[in-house]
């Protein structure tokens, strides 16, 4: 890989912004499974596997599935964040494979937040 210049940094930034803004990448949803040590210990791996399984079964191409670190609310792990295009992200708590399958069907596919598993909607203040 060639060495980066400052211009390359800007290019990468623009290119990968789409993974955060969905719109530009042509995706309609992004699912983040939080996989810090706390999440993994609580069973995030199984949640991720179930999600990948659903994605494969339905042959979904326009949804991003990714992992990330601790979401900060360790006593509610495993957690996942579902962000639908043009909607505030929704954080789900205390997940297991069955729950994430339902969230995938009802929220990601059906567009309806699964209230009973959801913790909160919105983004945190970063300043």
């Amino acid at each position: 890989m060639p060495k980066l210049t400052v211009d390359d940094l800007k290019k990468i930034k623009e290119e990968y912004k789409s993974t955060f803004t969905l719109r530009e990448g042509g995706y309609r949803a992004k699912i983040t499974v939080h996989m810090g040590t706390c999440g993994i210990a609580a069973g995030a791996r199984e949640v991720m596997n179930a999600l990948m399984d659903e994605m494969a079964k339905e042959n979904i191409k326009d949804v991003i599935v990714t992992n990330s670190g601790c979401a900060g609310f360790c006593s509610r792990e495993p957690m996942a964040t579902v962000e639908m295009l043009n909607h505030a992200p929704v954080k789900y708590q205390l997940l297991n494979p069955e729950k994430i399958r339902r969230i995938f069907k009802e929220h990601v596919q059906g567009g309806k937040v699964v209230d009973e598993f959801a913790l909160v909607a919105g983004s945190e203040t970063s300043y």
Partner: protein, 621 residues
């Protein structure tokens, strides 16, 4: 919309709304506005069909964009007075969403989220820690580019000094000053180190940053390296953090591949390489001189300072060591400037602090709050109060080097200066909440057991002192306490603090001193009454059932692993003291508060009484 008016009212004049009475409403509005003398301030416009005929007559109010529906002439006087005169929109008349709204709360309504401000943790849960591109997309390595290409070391140091950033690892030494000291020392080879040897029990701030956002650590180190003129860096991480090690290594590999580490970074001519060194998990290796010995491949033991590491550190070269969270604060500080950084926090404790909030609170987690926030807000609003309806007793800050803060000091703001006043320290950010089922002497004993174990053994005040202190606490909790023990402990604590070589010994007595300061009555009841009122120290505790309060539900009998509790249903139960092992199960289970904690000697009395009763029974038979 016409200018000159304070408010514009768009009342619908479509056929639908006229049919439902919008002209009458308009008339009523005109009258009322004139009556109140508002006709020069409020503009009334009749618009075409709005399309929402079923809810008519409708009216939109600008500039707020408030939408009123189904207006009637009789609503108008109230509406004009409340909204246009007093500025209070009338909710009753506003449009309501027909569908049932989701009951899901939003972050700004939940204290756990809305009291937090993310700086060090700004990428937490947002980026994929294994993709450098996602970090770059969130302004990653922009600050590194800025310092490498546009700033001199002196400018970097000035910015960091002005920000007031203090080391987040525990001691709170000003970061800019530390960099300046090392910058001034001449030398071809200097080292920049990162302390990821998080050792406080219950703390996991640094681990989470390394796992969730490893590149921010590398970027912070690049900036520090430029400031002091270092060309080699090491991240010292405890081997018990495998995921952090793995993700950091991946981050280093990616940064090297992109030329963000190595030679001539971003074409600036600046060189820096970073390696990971895995520590074996000794608490003392969080102390800077011990950490450097460990890095050199020697046994991790501290050495006297001066010379300070800024002058003679790793392999006797000028060295700067900063904590993970400190580095995580550096890139945004450089991008937004010192004034931005100071905009949160207090005069002397600027910015935010990450805490690992844990223990007896409902919401356990990793939180970042502006410095200066009162402890009470952290525990009750963010932490959601005490678990299982128990009562707050103390909050332990700063781990084995820190202290306990009681209820009456909960309004203390979280700043370096204010927390030190209470006898605790901000420390690296471990915040363990303790409820009333804990014995404070045992809490102190727990921390001393830890420090006794972790003392490296180099200097006698720490090696022997912590052991003697711990033995004394064991005596007190096992019923061998004697009058004068409290004073003896205090004396000895002073000696250990004054004579120890490094921070471990100098702070190890803090848990004892702070629990004596605020919970002296517990020490006294342990020593004089041989009574542990929290029911933790087994030899100083007797559990018994209060026959007045017992409802005879039998819940305690069912959980007792010894089957020591008996009694008829709906009649007071009794504990067979000879079988009881004081496991607390019954005490935790009883919903009526019928289980009481008595002093240790009560056990003997109860046994004697029970035998007497038995004997009487035999005689009567």
């Amino acid at each position: 919309m016409e200018t000159g008016y304070r408010v514009n009212l768009m009342i619908c004049g479509g056929t639908g709304c006229i049919a439902s009475g919008s002209l009458k409403v308009k008339h009523a509005l005109q009258e009322e506005l004139a009556k109140r003398g508002l006709e020069k301030e409020v503009n009334l416009v009749l618009t075409g069909c709005n399309g929402f005929c079923a809810q008519g007559p409708i009216m939109t109010v600008y500039p707020e964009g408030i939408f009123y529906e189904k207006l009637k002439p009789e609503d108008i006087p109230v509406l004009v007075e409340e909204h246009f005169l007093k500025g209070r929109p009338v909710e009753r008349l506003m449009y309501k969403e027909p569908e049932k709204k989701s009951t899901l709360p939003v972050m700004k309504d939940i204290p756990f989220f809305n009291l937090q401000v993310l700086r060090a943790l700004r990428n937490k849960g947002l980026v994929d820690p294994e993709k450098i591109e996602e970090y770059i997309a969130r302004d990653g390595y922009q600050a590194a580019a800025k310092v490498l290409l546009e700033m001199t070391p002196e400018q970097i140091i000035k910015e960091v000094k002005e920000s007031g950033l203090r080391g987040r690892g525990g001691a709170g030494f000003p970061t800019g000053l530390k960099w300046e000291l090392c910058n001034r020392v001449p030398g071809e080879l200097k080292y920049i180190l990162c302390n990821g040897d998080e050792g406080d029990p219950g703390a996991f701030m640094d681990r989470s940053v390394m796992e969730a956002d490893p590149h921010v650590v590398l970027e912070g180190m690049i900036i520090g390296a430029k400031a002091i003129g270092a060309s080699k860096g090491y991240i010292y991480v405890r081997a018990e953090y495998p995921l952090a090690v793995q993700r950091l290594q991946l981050a280093i590999d990616q940064a090297r591949a992109y030329g963000l580490l190595g030679e001539n970074i971003l074409g600036s001519g600046f060189n820096l390489d970073i390696e990971i060194y895995q520590g074996a998990g000794a608490f003392v290796c969080g102390e800077e001189t011990a950490l450097m010995r460990s890095l050199e491949g020697k046994r991790g033991m501290p050495i006297p300072r001066p010379p300070f590491p800024a002058v003679q550190g790793l392999w006797k070269k000028p060295t700067v060591l900063n904590n993970v969270e400190t580095y995580a604060n550096i890139p945004p500080l450089i991008l937004h400037g010192a004034q931005w950084f100071r905009s949160l926090g207090t005069e002397k404790s600027t910015g935010t602090k990450v805490f690992a909030l844990t223990g007896a609170v409902n919401n356990i987690g990793l939180i970042e709050v502006p410095m200066g926030i009162p402890l009470r807000k952290v525990i009750y609003d963010i932490g959601g109060g005490i678990r299982k309806g128990k009562k707050f007793k103390a909050v332990q800050l700063g781990g084995p080097s820190g202290g306990c803060i009681p209820e009456n000091l909960l309004d203390t703001p979280v700043t370096y200066e204010d927390i030190v006043q209470t006898g605790a320290i901000v420390g690296s950010g471990g915040m363990v909440v303790i409820d009333d089922s804990n014995c404070m002497v045992s809490v102190a004993k727990f921390f001393l057991e830890f420090t006794t174990d972790e003392s490296c053994g180099k200097c006698p005040p720490c090696r022997i002192g912590t052991k003697v202190l711990h033995d004394k606490l064991v005596d007190i909790t096992e019923g061998r306490g004697q009058p004068g023990d409290i004073e003896l402990l205090q004396d000895l604590c002073g000696d250990v603090i004054n004579c120890s070589l490094c921070g471990l010994g100098q702070t190890a007595p803090n848990p004892i001193l702070s629990t004596i300061r605020y919970f002296r009555d517990e020490y006294e009841s342990h020593i004089h009454d041989k009574w542990c009122k929290a029911g933790v120290c087994r030899t100083l505790t007797t559990f018994y059932v209060d026959p007045e309060t017992c409802k005879g539900c039998g819940a305690c009998a069912r959980v007792c692993p010894q089957k020591a509790i008996s009694g008829e249903r709906k009649k007071p139960h009794e504990i067979n003291q000879e079988l009881c092992v004081k496991c607390r199960s019954c005490y935790e289970t009883c919903k009526f508060g019928a289980l009481k904690i008595g002093p240790g000697r009560l056990r003997g009395e109860l046994i004697a009484r029970a035998r007497e009763k038995e004997l009487k029974g035999v005689e009567q038979a």
